[in-house]
């Protein structure tokens, strides 16, 4: 065997980066933890699954189509999204999940020596993509569980290219309202790209949540991320998109990988968009079960963070990772929050009542 000096080939920022290891598949987890059923409350998936029309598409998929490349730029989906959002189709880029569009934006605007700014306790992928692409990720502590606008602005220097705001924030569910986002965009004054990740916007119940699509007209440096993985129950197909001004999207398109979104995902997404009943049903479930959890947590004397989104965060009097292992033996999978820099917190995805009851029973048992 020849010897390869990998160290000479690998950039130092890759050497320093630690790979993310995802969870094993459910059957392996069940075998490992000795449970027969598994309630997945860890990934903020929609327990109701995809909207009805999307299901029909999935069921009726013609296997012969698998041999044909998909539309390379999700042509019809972009047309449908454009019609829905009142923008031009070329203002939209579709990716293999929102994770891919994060990569598009960072690659489009950053070069060696640049930095991005986001929060320390938020969705980790902004930070990860920046670091393994060789850019600095400046992490600003949350303030009262929310993105701290002033502290973020203080971190800006001439090499800052993108400010990422997760709105509502995963995992705390806090959000910036219209006034706060506008104030922030005014302060940025077009000097940086502002990305507002609205992966959970369809779950928000508050009237003052920003109409970011409308703000794009005033702020051409604003880029909005949306996903079909959460409300629309298509996480397994990996599909998300970004919307921005024509100028900003034309730049991002240069760093965009085409043909990365499969045919099934594109077609299922087109039919998901119009299903208002699915959205309403999901919202009702989330509202009802959040109230159930709130009562249960109060009864158990546990402190919690319940805001917008289809998830809640709970502070435990024991290690969150130990609680994960104990709950797994009872068939309940939650998300530990140490990796989100919230030691001893767990995040629970809102699911059907049966799953919520199993979780509370499990929690009572392990505490």
């Amino acid at each position: 065997m020849i010897s390869v000096a990998f160290d000479n080939l690998v950039p130092s920022y890759i050497n320093k980066f630690d790979a993310y290891i995802p969870s094993k598949p459910d059957p392996e987890l069940k075998k490992m933890f000795g449970c027969t059923t598994l309630y997945r409350l860890n990934n903020n998936e929609n327990p109701l699954g995809p909207p009805r029309a999307s299901r029909e598409i999935l069921r009726g998929f013609n296997p012969a189509q698998a041999a044909i490349y998909p539309s390379g730029d999700s042509y019809y989906l972009r047309e449908k999204l454009a019609e829905t959002h009142g923008v031009h189709p070329d203002q939209i880029l579709v990716g293999n999940g929102a994770n891919e569009v994060i990569t598009f934006v960072i690659n489009a605007f950053c070069e060696a020596g640049d930095n991005i700014i986001t929060a320390d306790k938020t969705f980790a992928v902004y930070e990860w993509v920046a670091i393994f692409s060789g850019y600095e990720a400046r992490l600003v502590p949350l303030r009262d569980y929310a993105f701290d606008d002033e502290a973020m602005l203080r971190q800006v220097d001439r090499r800052s290219k993108i400010l990422f705001v997760c709105n509502p924030n995963n995992p705390t569910g806090t959000y910036w309202n219209q006034d706060k986002l506008v104030r922030f965009l005014d302060r940025v004054d077009g000097r940086q790209i502002v990305v507002v990740d609205e992966a959970y916007c369809e779950f928000v119940e508050q009237d003052d949540f920003p109409d970011s699509l409308a703000l794009m007209k005033r702020y051409p440096n604003l880029v909005i991320f949306r996903t079909f993985s959460k409300m629309y129950g298509l996480a397994g197909l990996r599909i998300g998109y970004l919307v921005g001004s024509m100028d900003v999207v034309n730049i991002i398109r240069k760093a965009c990988v085409v043909y990365s979104v499969n045919t099934l995902a594109q077609e299922a997404a087109i039919l998901a968009i119009d299903d208002r009943e699915h959205v309403e049903r999901t919202r009702r479930l989330v509202k009802l079960e959040k109230a159930y959890l709130r009562r249960a947590f109060d009864r158990l004397g546990l402190s919690y963070v319940i805001n917008e989104g289809n998830f809640v965060m709970l502070k435990l009097p024991i290690s969150d990772t130990l609680a994960y292992r104990k709950l797994m033996t009872r068939g309940v999978m939650v998300r530990t929050m140490t990796g989100f820099r919230f030691p001893n917190y767990i995040r629970i995805t809102i699911a059907q009542h049966e799953a919520m009851e199993a979780f509370i029973k499990g929690l009572e048992h392990i505490l």
């Binding site: 490992m32 860890n42 990772t321 130990l322 292992r325 140490t338 989100f340 820099r341 030691p343």
Partner: protein
């Protein structure tokens, strides 16, 4: 704060006339890396003996790559060469070489090398080049004795990464405040070394400061293995509500998104923040006066347990099953058995020696494992070392093969350290009365 570590490498044929080159490279590298002259000479002597031995024992057509690495507080030499059937038994602390026997004289060099350095490691993986690693730490002045001080109450504190002077001050204040034996890790008795350990990037620390900017507490951590972080503290030099929890949370936030799967805390200070840790088990440390002191080891996983395969001998299976069940750690236990396959003639153990305890670790398997264990036990008993541990890596199949010999000679499993090696580490403690 991290500084450039750097390395200097040379590749040579394994021929005796290349010896001065190796010696020069090692000595000059050590000096360039800031090692004091006496330490550099000791390391050079070890390198000389190892190179000599390789020249005599291996095919002259082979070459060796010697890599000198600046670890800031230590210098490391890696000898990298094609796998061969070298007999490295002289690396054993208890090597029983016969000085009258000319055929064993060549191995004396290895014995000298082993005793000239602080640690050595052998990597001998099938399909890979063999790596023989020597570590020598730099000498640092020890801290002067500190007059005991009272731990005072503080109303406010804040936490931040420390600078060099803060770290030295932390060592001094900790030594004055925490006077019970074994409360502080030995490296904190050498403030200069402690600073260099942090500068090397291998260790990290966070300190709490009171309103007057004085050090009020601290926590230290280091990557013990690829997947484990060892945590020392929190050490409290002032009483302030919420300070231990804040220090622990700071450490967990820093390590939470790293490659590490878990943190281990054996400093005895983790009970200050019990809600963050799980109890792994307790180790009893025996003292010369007949008294004993229990140290509880704590663990905390940083991410969701990915599970792993564990190798065990059948004699250890009930213990491991029961412990893994107690700890809620999902493990796929695989039993190894000897089916007559050939082994090396001689085993090699590394020995980490303290004044009161010794930890033996297997470096190479061999037919003489049982006899080698006996020799080590005899030597350590003569040195009046009361606490003798053997650490096996449950992720390495051949380590499990040593279990019968260990049990036979009185070692008992006492502690599992999850993910602390290639797999979990099992610590076995020797109790003379338990020998079978």
């Amino acid at each position: 704060m991290q500084v450039q570590r750097g390395e200097i490498a040379v590749e040579l044929d394994l021929l005796a006339h290349n010896l001065p080159v190796v010696m020069n490279v090692v000595e000059q590298s050590a000096l360039v890396f800031g090692m004091p002259g006496r330490d550099a000479l000791a390391l050079t002597l070890a390198a000389e003996e190892v190179f000599n031995y390789l020249c005599v024992q291996t095919d002259v057509k082979e070459s060796v790559r010697a890599v000198c690495k600046n670890g800031i507080y230590y210098v490391q030499i890696d000898f990298i060469f094609p796998r061969s059937n070298l007999d490295l038994r002289a690396f054993n602390l208890a090597a029983d070489l016969d000085l009258e026997d000319d055929s064993q004289l060549e191995e004396m060099g290895l014995l000298i090398a082993a005793r000239s350095v602080d640690r050595l490691f052998i990597s001998d993986e099938p399909g890979q080049l063999m790596i023989l690693t020597l570590y020598k730490e730099k000498s640092y002045p020890a801290m002067e004795d500190q007059a005991p001080r009272t731990v005072e109450e503080r109303t406010r504190f804040f936490i931040k990464p420390p600078d060099n002077e803060d770290l030295k001050s932390f060592c001094q204040l900790a030594a004055a405040s925490l006077t019970e034996a074994g409360e502080l890790p030995p490296f904190m008795s050498y403030p200069g070394k402690f600073v260099d350990m942090i500068r090397s990037g291998e260790y990290d620390a966070a300190l709490a400061f009171d309103e007057r900017q004085a050090v009020a507490g601290g926590i230290v951590w280091r990557a013990r293995a690829r997947k484990t972080v060892e945590v020392y503290g929190p050490y409290l030099l002032a009483k302030a509500e919420g300070m231990p929890e804040a220090l622990i949370e700071y450490c967990l936030e820093q390590t939470g998104r790293s490659e590490a799967v878990g943190v281990i805390n054996r400093s005895g200070a983790a009970d200050l923040g019990k809600q963050y840790f799980e109890e792994l088990g307790t180790v009893v440390n025996y003292q010369a006066d007949g008294m004993s002191r229990k140290t509880t080891a704590y663990y905390r996983q940083l991410c969701e347990d990915p599970g792993q395969r564990i190798w065990t001998h059948i004699d250890l299976l009930p213990y491991l099953q029961s412990e893994y069940q107690r700890l809620f750690l999902p493990r796929d236990l695989r039993v190894v058995s000897n089916m007559g396959e050939q082994s090396n003639r001689h085993s090699v153990f590394s020995a980490e020696l303290g004044s009161k305890q010794a930890i033996l670790r297997p470096l190479l398997s061999g037919e003489d494992t049982a006899a080698n264990l006996t020799r080590h036990l005899q030597l350590l008993s003569r040195e009046k070392i009361m606490n003798i541990f053997f650490e096996i890596d449950l992720g390495v199949a051949w380590h499990a093969g040593m279990v019968p010999a260990l049990l036979e000679r009185g070692f008992k499993p006492c502690l599992i350290l999850p993910y602390a090696g290639q797999g979990d580490l099992l610590l076995m403690q020797f109790r003379a009365g338990d020998a079978q």
